[in-house]
């Protein structure tokens, strides 16, 4: 149990309206073989800690119900939460926005010592690409090798999309998730629409 001061950062419907960084654009774009969509208002938590510390790993498992991915570039997910390996001591946790505070509190409850949990929900938004030609769109957009023999299901990397940084994830065979910075969301969206 830590004494970190945290509060629920989720916008409350009747007081403040939460707005996607892409609110001024259409929330989906369909062309032949590709569907580009935004998944707005998810919860994002940055987790840092020592992956060699058994208590740390156990605490994360208890709080989220998922093992901590310690292999580079792996993505572990349940129905509600996903944990992405970002670096040997950093992970990105993505969950539904409404449950973000719950998971953040649970992590602070379970972890102790030298660790950090930061709610960065305001800083990111998620785009998804699906369809037969989704791969072609990615080939045009990132320098990373996204060919299925190199980028299998359950892999997640931090790389570049056009000239912006992106967390590129492949949660299942037919879908790609792109987590982009909110300030780059407009640029990434327009780039992807152009490529589609």
């Amino acid at each position: 149990m830590s004494d970190a001061a945290i509060f629920d950062q989720q916008a409350v419907a009747d007081k403040v309206t939460g707005q996607s960084p892409l609110h001024h654009l259409s929330s989906s774009h369909k062309t032949e073989g590709v569907v580009l969509e935004e998944v707005p208002s998810l919860g994002y938590l940055t987790l840092r800690g020592d992956a060699n510390d058994e208590a740390f790993r156990a605490g994360v498992h208890k709080a989220l119900g998922l093992e901590l991915p310690v292999q580079p570039m792996t993505l572990l997910q349940s129905d509600t939460v996903s944990i992405q390996w970002l670096s040997p001591d950093e992970w990105m946790i993505v969950c539904p926005g409404a449950r973000c505070f719950e998971f953040e509190s649970a992590l602070h409850e379970q972890l102790s010592g030298h660790y950090a949990v930061v709610n960065v929900s305001g800083g990111y938004t998620m785009l998804t690409l699906s369809g037969d030609r989704a791969l072609d769109v990615l080939y045009q957009s990132t320098a990373y090798d996204v060919h299925p023999r190199h980028f299998g299901t359950g892999k997640a990397v931090a790389t570049t999309l056009a000239k912006a940084t992106v967390f590129l994830r492949r949660p299942d065979d037919g879908k790609w998730e792109l987590i982009v910075r909110r300030s780059f969301a407009d640029y990434c969206w327009r780039w992807l629409v152009g490529v589609c």
């Binding site: 580079p72 670096s87 040997p88 950093e90 990373y144 990397v157 931090a158 570049t160």
Partner: protein, 100 residues
């Protein structure tokens, strides 16, 4: 494509994900309060500029955001090895002078 091996990600990544951060293995004076201006000045401002093997600090800026070391040949630009922070290079200038 110019690929660099990131020792933390464990695979070859595109060069545009990385930034060079200057000379590696700079030892901070152990006792800064009592170090001379000359010693401190050398630590802050004086850098090697060799023709040949150079050990450099790089960062995987768009990837895992970790710093690591690169041994690079300044004439051919060839990257001879990359290794994590805290480790010593396996390829050094002394080694290279010896005939193979």
């Amino acid at each position: 494509m110019f690929l660099i091996y990131c020792p933390y990600c464990g695979e070859e990544r595109e060069e545009s994900e990385f930034h060079a951060k200057g000379q590696a293995h700079l030892a901070r004076p152990a006792d800064p309060d009592n170090s001379s201006d000359e010693e401190w000045g050398h630590y802050l401002f004086f850098r090697e500029n060799p023709r040949g093997i150079h050990h450099e600090l790089w960062v995987h800026a768009a990837g895992c955001r970790k710093f690591f070391n690169v041994t690079r040949h300044t004439v051919s630009y060839e990257i001879l090895e990359t290794y994590p922070i805290g480790e010593q290079p396996r390829v050094t200038a002394n080694q290279m002078e010896k005939p193979a």
